[in-house]
Every structure is written in C-alpha cells, then in structure tokens.
Amino acid sequence: MRHITAFFFFMTTLVGPVWSQQHGHEDHAVDSTVTKVEAPKVFLDKSPRIVAYQLKRLDNQRLLMVQRKTDDAKYIPVYDSILSRIGMSPQFRQEALKALVTLQKSNPVTVLMNAIGKLDAEDREENRTAKQLAVMLLGLNQAPLKEHSNILWEAIKVDDDLSPSIAAAALLMSNQSETDLGKLTGGQSGQLAFLKAITLIPDAKQRSPFRQRVLGLLDRSGNQQIKNAAITAIGSLTNNQAESFVLLGPLITDDSLRASTVRSMLKIPIKERDSETSMQVTRFLVDLAEKTPAAERTSPTFVDAMQLADQLMAIIPSDQARIFRQRLSAVTVRVVRIKTVEEEMRYDIPYFVVEAGKSVQIVLENHDLMPHNLVITVPEALKEVAQLGLQVGPNNGWNGMPYVPESDKVLHATQMVPSDQQITLTFDAPTEPGEYPYVCTFPQHWYRMYGVMVVVNDLDAWLKNPVEPANPIGSNRSFVQAWKVDELKDDLDSGMRDRSPEIGKRLFAEASCAGCHKVQGEGGVIGPELTDVFTRWKGDRVGVLREVLDPSHKVDAKYVMQRILTADGRTVTGVLLAEDDDKVTLLSNPEAKEPTVIAQDDIEAMVPSSVSMMPKALMDQYTKDELFEVMAYLESVAPASKP
C-alpha cells in the first residue's frame, strides 16, 4: 500500500468554517480596491487600554490599514495585534515580529513567547494561532534559540497549555545538552511539556533522537496524563516503528490509555505492525466491541478502535480474521474512516477494500479548512461524475447535495462536510466486484481528491494476496516528498539551469496549475496570471518557489477568497469580481461557467479569508527535477526576467 507520511504543518487559519481557499502570488501591498474600507482612526497616543480596545474592534483588513512604523514605540500595540491576530497572513506576522524586535529592542524568541503566552489554548482559533507562532519560533535558527534559551526555560514553568510545550519544542530544536534535557524532564510539568513538544517538532527526523527519553517516560511515569502524552509522542516518531507497535500493543487493555494508544497505533505503517501483537490487539478489540453497549459504538474512540481492528485483520492469519470479522459483523457495521488532510486537498487513504454486498459505513472526517464531500461512482466513472457534478452546480444537485449529479453513475454521496465536521454514509457494498472510485466533486478537487473502494467477493482471500487498485484518473504518480523551501533553495540556481520550457509547460498543466492560472493567455482566472510572476518578484527565485510551495504565505487582496454566509444559511465562496450596493459578484470556483451573483440583502456576513485557496503539496507527487522544470518554465515566459 502506498503510504503517505502524515505530518502537520501549522498554517494561517480562519475564524469559523471555510468553504474554500484562494491564493494570489503578486508582490503587491494589500490592495483595497476590491472592498472599499476607510482607514480607521486609532488614538495611539491614548492609554494602552484604549488602544487595545480600538485595535480589538478592527477586523484584519482594517487592522492592516492602521498606520505603523518602526520608529515610535506607540506602534507596538499595532504590531502586537498583527502578530497574534487570528487569521493573519504569515507575511504580516513576520513583518510584525521584525518590527517588535526593533521597537522593543528585543529578540524574536522573547517576542514570540510573549505573544504565545497571551493566547488561550482552550479557544480553537487562538490555539491554531499559537501553533502558527510556534512554527515561526521553531523556524528560527538554532543560534537565537540557544542564545535566548533562558526565556524558553522560563516559559516551561508557565501554567498554561501552550507556552511550556512550545518552549520545550524550541529547546529541543536548539541542541540542548543531555544534562539540560534531564533537567527539563526532571519534574512532571517539564515531562509533559517535553512530550507535547515532540509532536510540535515539524520534521520527523528531528524527533527521532528523543525516542529513548520518550520511551523512558512512558515506562517510568505513574501519571496517566504523562503516559497518554508519551503514547501520543510515540505515534509521531517515525524511527523504529515496529518496536513502537509492540510496545503500544499491551497498553490497549488500559481503559484510560486506550484512546491515545489506538490513535498512535493507527499511525504506524502496516508493514511495521507485528502479527503477534496484531493478533492480541485484534482479539482484545473484538471482545471489547461485543461488550460495548450499542449506544457507545458511534463514539470517535470506538470508531478508531474498530478502524484499527479492521486494518489488523489484514495482518493476522486469514482463518482467524474470518472468525473475528464474523463476530464483529454481528455487533457493528464495518467502519471505514476517511479523513481529509488539512490544506493538501486529498483524502488520507488511497483505497479500502470491502466485501461485495456487505454493509459498510464510511465516516468522512473533514480536517481541512474547506468543505469536501465523498461520492462513490461506478467503475471508471470518476471524471465523468466530477464533470456532471460541476454542471449541476451548488444548488441543483441530487437530493439537494451540492455538486452531486443525479446519475446512474453515482452510487452513494454525502453532503458537503464543513471544516472540522464529519458525516456518516452507510450502505451495502455493490454485489459486483470491481474498483469503485470515490471522489470529492467540489469543482476541481477531483484532480487530487479521490480514492478507490475495492469490492471483492472474499475479503480474506484478497488480503492473502492483495492487489493495489489502479489509479482511477489514470495517473501513475505517487508521493515523492513534501517539498520545503528551505530544503530546495540552495539548489535552486543550479537546478534551474538548462531546463526545457516545453516540459515545464506540460507539467504546469499536469499539476493542475493551468486550471487556475493564466500563462501567456491560456489557463484559468481564479488565481492571478503567472506570465509575469518572475518580473513581479524581480527575478527572486526563492520568492516564487515559496509562492508555489507555501501558497498562504502571502495572499494578494484581489484574490482573497471571500466567504459569504447568506441569510437563509447557505455559504458561498469565491473571488470577488464586483460589489455594489445591491449585489456581490463572485467567481466561486475555477470551472464556474459564470459568476455567482448574490443580492446584498441576502448576505448575512462576508468574511475575507487570509488563507490561500491553492492547496499546498501540489508538487509533492513531482520530483525535484520536475519542480525545477516548472520554475524554469515560469521564468522563461516572464518579460525581462533574470537570465
């Protein structure tokens, strides 16, 4: 099975659920031509309470219109607000960080830890914002982290849910001595911070060195909270996962540790799962399922556990698996959980296997910031269904489901699931074996967001001899690497030499870039034209690369995705084309045939998003060479670009 490493990349977020994201790449300052907003008057010379109150009343757009300079301490509250504001683009956070360092004659570690300290871990949006500031902190060089480690050590002692773990993560990244690490994990609060810090470290490789210390804490601690944190940390360690699996197996019997244990075991690749442990865990989980009252069988913990049992049955001997499966089917429906991956526009599993005619329940969990659905089609009908879905649009779908066509090619479908919500789809699998695609029919998502439901007559027989299904859109690409700017920038100049624009142009289309962006007159309009992207960046290749790999870093105001909540409860999103007193005209998606027009009277709220609509990881199925080809192509079309 193809496995895609799960990793978290903390991103700019929005208030509330978001339908879609949009990006722009232009090197412009915030462009306010789209929504006319007057610059607010903020009395910066008045007392801090007044300034804070006024700034708090401003939305992000207006906040960015407040005058700010780095030559007067009165601007500190403005930068403070920008740095820790929910939904602010990273470019402005970076600007604010730099300004605060100057104005406060401080250093980035102090400034960031101060900002993090003011955020409320209990509030979902503030928590996300803190994680974004953590990314900025952990992205600093080792040197400043080390130099200001006293700040971090102080933050470890703070009594809240965010600061200690983030500070601990920064300490771990700053190459502290073993003695200092020992000091860190000397007490319970330090131990907890350390364990939570492990999951905050962005790069799995950097987590690995702390494995023994994590295992030690799991072994030694008598504290449930610490044990659970250790189990979660183990789930994020990618070295020696076979050992992790064996270690976690027995913990599943402990009621207070089971939830985290199941989640961590699910993260361990199947090939690393030992069959003996799998057997014991499966036996326990099947017993557990039979003992669990019906009312509790829909809890997330139970669904997780059944997902794990289901996966493990592919590992244990098939005659045993058959018995377990029969026992399970007596008490619970076969559950397949599919999660969307935040900002990557894909489902977390590429395929699953079900037995013909048997009941199956799909739980679709949407962890992305935009809505997604899941539509199961007859074999080889993915593309056709996606295109029919586009034709029916958001309002005329089958049973009122947006973008779901009424068609005999469609077997089952869900509603659009908003961000951070889930939906359950229960049905009997087709009686005819085959490879049935599933796809998100939101416009343009089908390029990346799909998988296959493999229907077989005998699941155990299949498991003995698994055959990976063919890619349902005919792509033969698979995950290569989660590309990061820092890993590529040093090779950029040499890598872009002697590339062929024709290849780059073909890849530009294949990677679906052309669906949204025009180059030399061809392509979509929902994103900015890229013909002159290198010109706008004054030939800065790293800048352009960041736009490709990290689309939300900077979003041009003209291409900000507007999210409109209508009075009757619908949500419509798109790029704003025009707005007057009566109506708002939006382009909702790259393939929309005509703009959506909404009467102002019907609009309850219009919220601009600071997150790009462009998915991240668009290039993660492409090699480094291919990425350079695309870059070179863009450079070649730019008027008066750098040679």
Binding site: K41, F43, K46, S47, R49, I50, Y53, Q54, R57, A567, E604, A605
Partner: protein
C-alpha cells in the same frame, strides 16, 4: 382630462416648474380602480375622507373604486412590513389597480440635496416598473402627487418650515421632472398648500407637517384641481362622505388588520382546532371585509349621483364566517397541564376574594368588577387622573374585532364618591375603540393606543365623555394586537414613552423626519416639540412594563420572558435595521440586527417565573419603610402573583432580589396585568380575569376566549394610615411646584403632568422663582433642583446654568440624571463636548455610563475619542456594553 388651466397657470406664475413637467394626461375611465400608495399624507386620507368624496361627487358615473394602500413612512423602495405582509404588487393586484397614485417626497426630503439624485432615480424606476405591470385591468395609469408644504404654525416649539419648504420645493421639482421623463401624471400640491397655509388663519396641521381634519378638508379641492383641473364640486355632501367613511373603515380593518402575524405571518399556522387554523379563520374575515367594502362602493356611487340609498346596508351576500372549535379542556389540554389555563367556571368576585394570600400586614378589597359594571370587560391598563380618579382601558373584543359587530372597546372612569375604595360610578370616557392596549393621561385628555395609531381624545365640555378625537401619531405596525403599543409612561422630563412588541415593523413620521423600528422597542415622544424617536431599540418580546425611579433611572419589564432590565445601557442610539443585542428575540433576528446571536443582556435580578405584564416601584408612605423602592411585577401565568423585589445600587447599575410577594391568588383566573400606586398610597391592580391567557395558544376566534369579565383590586396596609391625596387638578402653579418636594413618585408624576399642561410662559417664571428660593441646606435640595431641570425639559426650555450645576452635584444620582437630560439637549448646549468629557471621567460609574450613552447621539472621530475616555476608569459589564454599543453606533 388634462391638468388644466388653473394649476398650470399657478405653477407658471410661481416659476416652480416648467411647462414640460405636466404633459402627461390623467384620464379616468368607467370602472377604474384607483389605488393610493405612499406615506402618511396618503394613508390618512382614509380617515379624513374629503378627497374621495369630492372625486366620487365629480365622477359618479365612472363607478370608481378607491383603495388606500398608504403606510406612513413609505418610500419608493423602502417600505418595511411585518412578516409575509405581501409585496406592494400583491396588494395592487388584489385591488386590480388601474390607476396608481404615488405620494412620496416628504420623508425623502429630509436627506436634502444629497438625497435628490437617488430619489429621482427611484421614482423614475418606480413609475417605469408600475407601467410595465398589469394588475388585472391592463396597463395602469401612474400619477405622482407631490408632498404638501410645511405649515408655519407659529408655535415656538415647532420648526417654522423655512428649511422644510426649501427642501420640499426641490423634491417637488424632482417629482415633476420624473413624471415628465417617465410618463406619469403629476399633481403639484406643494405650491397651492404653501399658499393655503400662508393665507389660512386656522391651523391646518397637527405639527406643521401633517394635516389635521380641517387641513384635509382644504386639501381635497386642491388635490382635485391639481389632478383634474377646475370645475370640481364646491362642497362635500355629508351623506357621500359618511358613506365613504364607512367604506374606508371596512377597508382599513381589512388592509391594516391588527393581527397580521397571526393571519398571514408565521402564527397563522397556530390556533388550529384540527381543521381550521388562524389563517383559515381570519383570512375568511378579511374576505368578508373585502365584500363589505365593495358593497359600500356601490352605495357611494348611488349617493354621489344624487340617488337615495337605504339606511342599512345589505351585507347578506358575504361569505359565512368560519367558526373554529375550542381547544380548551379535554384530558390532554397542554395549557391546563402547564398551569396556564384558569377555570371556565368563573367565580364571583366575593368567592375570588377569599382565595387571595397577602403579605403580612396587608389586605385586599374589590374596587370594581364586571358584576356591578358590565363595561369592565377585559380591563388591561389603569391610570389615575389629576383629580385622583381611576381610569381603565378595556378590550372586550380582544384579540380582534369581528366584522359585522359593533366595535366598542372602551376607556372608563371610575368615581369613588365616598372615598371607601369601592367604585360607585363608572363613566365611559370613550367607546368605539379597538384594542386600546395602553393609554396615558395628559394635555387635558388621553393618549390611547389603537394600532396602528395613537389617538388623542379629549373632553372639552366637562361631561367626562370625549368629544374630540385625533389620530395623533401613526405608522405603528399592526402585526399583533397583543404586542401593540402599551406601557405608556411619562418620563421625568416630559417625554411620553410607550412600548411596542416583537414581529412589528413600524415607520413613524414626524416634523423632524422618519423613524423606523423593527422587532420591538420603546418609543419616545415629546408632545410640545413633537420630537419623536426610538428610546430603546432592543429585541424584546413584548415590553409591557416601564417605570422610572425617583432619580429618573428607568426599568423595563419584558412580558413574555419575564425579564426585567435596567434601561440606561439599552437606551443609547442605534438605528434601524440594527438593534442592541441580547433581548429575548435577539437570537432570531441577530443576522439582521447585529451582535453575537448567543448574547443575553443581563436582567437586573434573576427571573424566577414568567411573565411580566406590568411593573411598579413602591413609593408610598402607606407602605412600610423597608418596602420603599421595591420593584413590583404582575405575574399572570406562572404564579398569579404580584412579585416583590428589593433593589439596590451596584456599580453603574442596580441589582434586585426577590422577597415575599405582595399578593397571590389561588383562583387561576386572577390575571394581574397592570398595577399602580394610587393617590392615597394604596396599590391598585388590574385583573384581566380570563380562564385563557395565551394569544398564540388558542385560535383568535377560540369560543372560550372571555369577553365579559374584569376586576380591579386594591391592596392596603392593615395598620398604616393612607396618604391624603394631593390636590392637583386646577391648583395654582406655585402649589403644584411645592408638590415636587413630595416623597411619593406618583404624586410628583401627576403634579408634573398638570404642570406640563399649563402655559409655558406662566410656568417658567414661577419655576424660576421657586428654584431660586429652594433651601440649599435641605437634604433633598439636589433632587428638588433636578425636578426643576426636568420641568424645564418638559416645557422644552433649555437651562444651561441649572444643567451645569446639576452635572456638578454632590449626589451621583443627580449627576447621572443631569447627564441624561444633556443627552436630549446636545444641539442646544454648545459646550456639550466638554461637559460630557467630565461625565465620562466622573468618579461614579453610572455617570460615566450615562456620558457614554449620550455620546451615541453624536457622530464622528471626536465622538469616538470622547467615548473611549471611559476606558481610563474601571468599567463594569453595563459600561462595557454601553461603550461597545456606542462604538457600534458611531461606526454605523
């Protein structure tokens, strides 16, 4: 027919319009249906039926049907209505309009030059759109009628109209041009009414802007000539006018039905008896009214053509009524289960009296009941006049007058000749009313709610029977009869406050411009200056309680949820369509009105049981000292009780705590709905006395709704002496001023009400002298000064010296009250910014809050800066709310 010689010549002479402006022809055909659409000028023509009489007399052979679709405050494209009232086209189609006369321009004119372009655009668009319609009789003919001029009444309290008329002339010209360009007929009534007002010795308007009855009589030939040229009738035939009035009455009650939300709105689906719901039953009644209206058209034609008509009208051709079954009783009656239902076996007052339980030391007696006074059916509100007599409003027809019956709800006066508390005589001050949900005395008469109007009725010959009836204020919504205007209360500074419930969308015109209010609030009206507006814009359910304390702080009770609020934070300015957040209906409408849908504005004590149909503050030496200042609440569902709460100051505001009730009754039909401390210091309670209580819970025509019972009760202390009632009616001004030193709130209230009626040029000198002589060493000195300030406000006379003295008073309650007065005088106090700056930096949080509240009536960055100053001090939740809402207003 053309707009012919007289008017055209007149307009040329005045140079107001060019000849091109009136080229469209107005040509009436036989069988035309003329619909009048537009603002109050138009709407009120159906209450002063001169013009239609002239029209019918001029063209009896054309058999014209006139339907008035006017609404005060209507503009071409902004006409707010309650839920599902129906678009203008629906009503034009219902009446099969073939001629549409539009009356616009008055309200719009307050926007002056900057509003002209939009107005012109809108009017042209409206004419073009109307001409493209067919309402059942082909392409309609469209006529634009200009606004009338503003009358200079000579009253120093009112605008003289110079600025108004300059604006109105421009808007008239814009209408003329639009008519020319879009192809509509045009009637200039501005020019001739300006001349009319100049030449008339009699006052022809209520307030400068709106015609009175004589004004409409003079207006009829002017409009007739402007439309059809000279040659119209020279007088109005009283028989024709009476017939037109009768037709208009039936049409009025059809088009402006008082329970819209329970007929075509959401609650139309309620009240089902298994077969018929409210919509079924009440739309049938509207259909019957349509038929009765049509029957009266025919009668008008015969009378107008000089024929005789039978005295009675044969309405036997109408549809039958639909009579729903009862939903009362039976084993599963949900209202019985929830304790809402009383008993259909009504007790006598004597039997009922045995079932009262009283607070220690108190007793209760019957003042009046339906047994002795059959007029006392469904009493809903009470007041005491300046002679000390009890007045009661009754609504026997509640919830809705039924067509073909006599409309006869009443205002009663009870006299107690021997002063023993039992009423001896009942006088009918006014009958023929419909749903008088509230009333207040003043100006020598009574202001009476009769949605969509507030009437002013007056007895001029001393027989205690009203002989003058004026529709004084208009444009209130009719969506629900029981959410109608109620809880009238004079503020200490002479404003009349009254309240309106949810589902309502009102537009009220005044000489100062239009005010819109949707979904409940409290209105304010100053009868001298005619200044009108919203006092509290907040999503109540139905705010039936409102009372001021000794220092002018007020409290509002919201009936349905039983919530009691301190008013100051809620009473800053915020304009339609926004509202202050946190009322019981806020969540439903927050998407329009703004604010966090989940926010709940705090009540000043935790509510234990709902509802709250009326409230009062104990201020009577007949009551024991420990009860002074207590907040009393009538509870007519949860407990059939007068709830009792102690109140104390807390931070900027107040907190209450429930203590033992004053009185409760085991008779489930005891429905206390209003209460007031009487001139002798006892407590009077209105008992609606009905087994059924809900408006929503039963069909509007539920057969068991009671239309005959009603009782008034009086609670006295067993041992404490009564107060000798103060002499007020007709007393000398100097004596009345002395009454402002009295401890009882209601005595001062009535004395001020009497002083408000006296001539300003007599009151002011006396007041100045009285104020100068006040004893500065009296511990009540600052309160007496405050009463003086309030009386200045009552007489619409600004006194900056006194204001500033009180803004610097020692007692924070005086400073807070003076700050409230300043909020009404901002335009007349040039240094208001400096004064407010001090208020906002005051050591007491209530003064700071009142200061921030006052800033909501200003605008601009300076105002923002002023309000933000409050953050220099500690702020509590009420102040934070007031600041947030003031900021929202300044950002609106």
């Amino acid at each position: 027919m053309k707009i012919t010689s007289f008017v055209v010549a007149f307009m040329f002479a005045t140079g107001l319009i060019s000849s091109a402006a009136n080229s469209a022809e107005i040509q009436l055909k036989k069988g035309d249906h003329i619909c009048l659409v537009g603002n109050a000028l138009c709407e009120r023509m159906q209450h002063h039926n001169y013009w239609e009489s002239v029209l019918q007399q001029r063209y009896p052979e054309l058999e014209l049907r006139v339907r008035n679709l006017g609404f005060p405050g209507d503009e071409p494209y902004e006409r707010i209505r309650s839920e599902n009232f129906g678009e203008p086209d629906k009503h034009l189609a219902h009446s099969q309009a073939s001629v549409v006369m539009y009356f616009f321009g008055f309200n719009e004119s307050f926007d002056g030059d900057k509003g002209l372009a939009k107005f012109t655009r809108d009017i042209k668009k409206l004419v073009e759109e109307t001409k493209a319609k067919d309402y059942g009789k082909g392409t309609p003919q469209v006529i634009l009628v200009s606004p009338i001029a503003f009358e200079n009444t000579g009253d120093r309290n009112l605008p003289d109209g110079t600025e108004h008329n300059a604006r109105l002339a421009k808007y008239t010209k814009a209408l003329a041009n639009a008519a020319e360009e879009a192809g509509a007929g045009f009637a200039d009534v501005f020019t001739p009414t300006k001349e009319l007002f100049r030449a008339s010795k009699k006052r022809l308007t209520l307030n400068g802007a709106h015609l009175n009855d004589e004004g409409y009589a003079a207006f009829a030939p002017i409009l007739d000539t402007a439309l059809f040229g000279k040659g119209g009738p020279t007088s109005v035939d009283p028989a024709v006018k009476a017939a037109v009035e009768d037709k208009s009455f039936h049409w009025w009650h059809r088009y402006r039905s008082v329970n819209g939300f329970s007929i075509y709105g959401s609650r139309g689906k309620a009240g089902s008896d298994g077969t018929y719901n409210n919509t079924d039953v009440m739309e049938r009644e509207r259909a019957i009214l349509d038929q009765m209206t049509a029957n009266r058209d025919a009668r008008i034609w015969s009378l107008a053509s000089g024929e005789t008509a039978p005295a009675t009208i044969d309405d036997s051709n109408t549809l039958p009524f639909i009579n729903p079954k009862t939903n009362v009783g039976g084993p599963d009656d949900p209202n019985a289960k929830r304790g809402k239902l009383g008993s259909l076996d009504y007790l006598t007052a004597e039997e009922q009296q045995k079932l009262f339980e009283l607070h220690d030391g108190f007793q209760i007696q019957l003042v009046a009941s339906e047994e002795q006074f059959p007029e006392l059916a469904n009493p809903v509100a009470l007041n005491f006049d300046n002679k000390g007599r009890l007045w009661v409003a009754t609504m026997a027809s509640y919830p809705h007058w039924k067509p073909k019956t006599k409309m006869d709800d009443k205002i009663l006066i009870f006299e107690d000749h021997d002063q023993d508390g039992d009423a001896d005589e009942c006088k009918v001050f006014a009958g023929g009313l419909h749903q008088p949900t509230g009333f207040e005395l003043g100006n020598g008469g009574a202001y009476i709610a009769e949605q969509p109007d507030i009437l002013f009725l007056k007895d001029t010959d001393g027989d205690d029977v009203a002989d003058v009836k004026v529709r004084k204020l208009f444009g209130f919504d009719t969506a629900d009869s029981h959410h109608g205007i109620s809880a009238f209360e004079w503020g200490p500074g002479g404003n009349l406050y009254f309240e309106e419930g949810t589902f309502k969308y009102s537009q009220v015109e005044s000489p100062y411009g239009l005010t819109r209010l949707s979904e409940a609030g409290i209105w304010r009206y100053h009868p001298k200056s005619e200044k009108f507006g919203v006092f509290v814009n907040f999503a109540f359910a139905n705010p039936w309680g409102h009372v001021f304390d000794r220092w002018g702080q007020n409290f509002i009770g919201d009936a349905s949820p039983g919530n009691s609020y301190w008013a100051a934070p809620l009473s800053g300015r915020i304009d339609h369509p926004l509202k202050h957040p946190g009322g019981s209906q806020h969540r439903r409408i927050a998407k329009v009105t703004g604010g966090d849908p989940n926010y709940k504005f705090p009540t000043f004590y935790p509510k234990r049981t709902r509802p709250l149909a009326g409230c009062a503050i104990v201020s009577s030496q007949h009551f024991p000292p420990e009860m002074q200042g207590n907040f009393l609440v009538t509870n007519c569902i949860g407990n059939r009780t007068i709830l009792n709460h102690e109140v104390r100051e807390d931070g900027s505001g107040f907190v209450g705590k429930e203590v033992a009730p004053i009185v409760s009754c085991k008779d489930g039909n005891f429905r206390p709905v209003d209460l007031q401390i009487a001139p002798d210091g006892s407590l009077y309670i209105v008992d609606w006395h009905n087994a059924l209580i809900g408006h929503l819970q039963h069909n509007l025509r539920e057969p068991n709704r009671d239309h005959s019972h009603g009782r008034i009760w009086r609670v006295t202390h067993k041992t404490r002496p009564l107060i000798a009632p103060a002499k007020i009616d007709g007393e000398p001004i100097a004596d009345l001023l002395e009454l402002l030193k009295v401890r009882e709130d209601r005595t001062r209230y009535r004395a001020k009400r009497e002083l408000a009626d006296r001539a300003t040029d007599e009151v002011l000198p006396a007041l100045t002298a009285w104020t100068a002589k006040l004893d500065a060493s009296d511990k009540n000195h600052e309160h007496q000064l405050l009463e003086s300030l309030w009386l200045h406000q009552t007489h619409n006379v600004v006194n900056r010296e006194l204001l500033e003295a009180l803004l610097a008073a020692k007692d924070h309650r005086a400073r807070a009250a003076a700050t409230r007065v300043l909020s009404f005088w901002l335009e007349d106090v040039p240094n208001h910014k400096q004064l407010l700056e001090k208020c906002i930096a005051d050591p007491h949080p209530r003064v700071r809050l009142e200061g921030v509240r006052a800033v909501s009536f200003l605008s601009g960055d300076e105002a923002i800066e002023l309000a933000l100053g409050v953050l220099e001090s500690d702020i509590d939740d009420y102040t934070q709310f007031t600041l947030d809402e003031t900021m929202r207003r300044l950002e609106q």
